[in-house]
Symmetry: C3
Subunit: 312 residues, 3 copies
Amino acid sequence: MKITGTFIDEISHDIPHQNWGEKEWDRDFAYMRAIGIDTVIMIRSGYRKFITYPSTYLIDKYGCYKPTTDLVELYLRLADKYGMKFYFGLYDSGIYWDTGNLQHEIDANQYVIEEVWAKYGHYKSFGGWYISTEISRKTKGATEAFRTLGLQCKTVSNGLPTFISPWIDGKKAVMASSAQLSKEEAVSVREHEQEWGEIFSGISGAIDAVAFQDGHIDYHELPAFFEINKKLADKYGMECWTNAESFDRDMPIKFFPIKFDKLRLKLEAAARAGYDKAITFEFSHFMSPQSAYLQAGHLYNRYKEYLQTLNF
Amino acid sequence: MKITGTFIDEISHDIPHQNWGEKEWDRDFAYMRAIGIDTVIMIRSGYRKFITYPSTYLIDKYGCYKPTTDLVELYLRLADKYGMKFYFGLYDSGIYWDTGNLQHEIDANQYVIEEVWAKYGHYKSFGGWYISTEISRKTKGATEAFRTLGLQCKTVSNGLPTFISPWIDGKKAVMASSAQLSKEEAVSVREHEQEWGEIFSGISGAIDAVAFQDGHIDYHELPAFFEINKKLADKYGMECWTNAESFDRDMPIKFFPIKFDKLRLKLEAAARAGYDKAITFEFSHFMSPQSAYLQAGHLYNRYKEYLQTLNF
Amino acid sequence: MKITGTFIDEISHDIPHQNWGEKEWDRDFAYMRAIGIDTVIMIRSGYRKFITYPSTYLIDKYGCYKPTTDLVELYLRLADKYGMKFYFGLYDSGIYWDTGNLQHEIDANQYVIEEVWAKYGHYKSFGGWYISTEISRKTKGATEAFRTLGLQCKTVSNGLPTFISPWIDGKKAVMASSAQLSKEEAVSVREHEQEWGEIFSGISGAIDAVAFQDGHIDYHELPAFFEINKKLADKYGMECWTNAESFDRDMPIKFFPIKFDKLRLKLEAAARAGYDKAITFEFSHFMSPQSAYLQAGHLYNRYKEYLQTLNF
């Protein structure tokens, strides 16, 4: 299974920033393209007061800081140049995390979606929307919010595709700021199927693809969960993607590039489950030859060798 | 606001050592000089048994280990070469942290100050003293100790300037070894003003500048705290510097280079508050083109581009 | 005291993988050889389902994943090329850590040892065995297990040497996944001597060398513990090696290369105690010029300069 998409981690929650300028981003898109990546997803357009483009709305309404560089414009320009699709990740006000109330995310993004489409919708590479609020099975009210946000995106953009990337509430689903590596109460395959069946039923028609993060369960659990995910996606008319995490959740350093064989195991499990597409979180820190983490460049080389064995 | 000074983190508490030799240090001073840094501050001359210069006193009295290289001599020589001022950071016996008793720091440093001045005071670049015991508002007895240590330094060295770099007891004031990123009980602006007013009153005349660390409060809180700091410094006849931290306190990896826009926001807040000077903790790990953290070199480039927009 | 051996950290518990291919490993063996390393020790041949060579037995019996590369074959080939000895680290099923039962480790390794000897025993560089289950004084049943495993290795391989690398239950003996840096209840020198005397008495004849990890105690405690270790090793007819950790246990980032002077202090303490050999955990991440941690390359240079002062 070949990775054909990657997140771009702007604004980051937990991965230190690389401080790249245009030259480095241009080179990174070239590295991506060289291994067959045709889709880039900006993970979020903003988080609390930090934003990726000079949004009049967010600066006025949420007191956001004007960024030095308009990254949305930069990424769209580069996606045009390299013949890739760009997905825009919605704004995360942080209010939901503080209060449990999702209404703010819906309201803020109604404006953001319109603003962004008016400003950047003409770019050839503008290819879709990423509903960035990460959820898991326990997130109350998420279904309705995802449905609303997905429909807003599609309505404004003449039906451009939308996707989400939730996590499986597995044993490695612990906070990044925690020193723990795993937890006791992990969801069973049965619970996962039942709860996500309900969620998929609610978002069907508003969300076109679901890309479960693949790093919260153990490697031998992948087949069982992947089979359910694919079955549910088929049933509710969604594409089933895998979000193949290219960082290692098993190490006390949070987070460094993954060992190649772990990535391979996850991709092979997705292939066997008949998944439609593989994306990764994320190329620029964890797989790029110019990453500040030099392990990433070696992962790039190992991955390229692997592609050759598959005759890609 | 241009950064014109940097700490040198020897001996480090919490930032892994880069193991540089003279060649790397020489090159780093050149990189510093190229962006306008005219002041280097050795953060401490020793911590417990590890020391930066072969101190007869500390080896005999505290069982310190003789260092392979005399870093004080090296830094002074390089500061001479590059036309910079060198500030000497006092010794930290660790006893205060274990017992709450500051008397040991005062006694030990009385000898250290004399020894160092006798040994290195002739260097042209020897420009001042850094009272290295980091304190915050809750540190009992600190005022008197700071006064005593500052006066010792000035007396021995014919009045060379002294400074301190305390932290604001804000929500990010958590232990580096903690997995937490923030805490609930943060000091209010009013408490900060009242308590630091008392401390400044006590150290006035013995300490010439105060450089609050800028990383323990949130970005939108900077203006309020900076205004107080400047007002207090003016009132008590001290220079008001900012210690612009160039590492990121918001990430689970402790600590990596900061995202450029965060650094910019902090420098701009200091400029607006009329601060006298900006120093950083610290150049060599977090802003240097030869740092082991490659994000640092990119931060250097982003910062240089920023200086150009300011017409520095 | 010169470092003449290094672990190779495959499969790693807590150090992120560098994703090296044959080219990088070949170059690393050359770097090792250049500073006098004549012994490489593969720390374990597998941990739970991840293994270093395509073991028919482990894949069938423990559901292990077939590795992309046969690392045992690669390391033996390179050890042959560079004239080094290769020690094979036993398999760790993880069952002991989950259940406290060591019998699984004994049973699994009986097969592993035979399989490995049949497959790789003809390599000239196959020089010994590393009993990889790390223990400390509190590990119940360890003595008998170590004895059994050591004798299995020696019987199969016509008496090739065996060694262990336990840790001292000192104040820095905390979990890597913990945010803590030290603990209160550390073993005293007396307890250490008494308890390890019992263990050594039990393993004498089955284990040829013991290489205590040197990083769990404070630097000033090294002489007292090292003296005991050497005395015990002499008494029970074992070689006394030091496992000089080249990563820094004192930093919140777990784990980065150690400050050179710390490594020097530990090596000098081992030399003074009359130790027989120094190995390190481990060269490729923490001392190699091509490590992803650039501090490691500088440590390599500082160490080389140090060797010159010793006239090695």
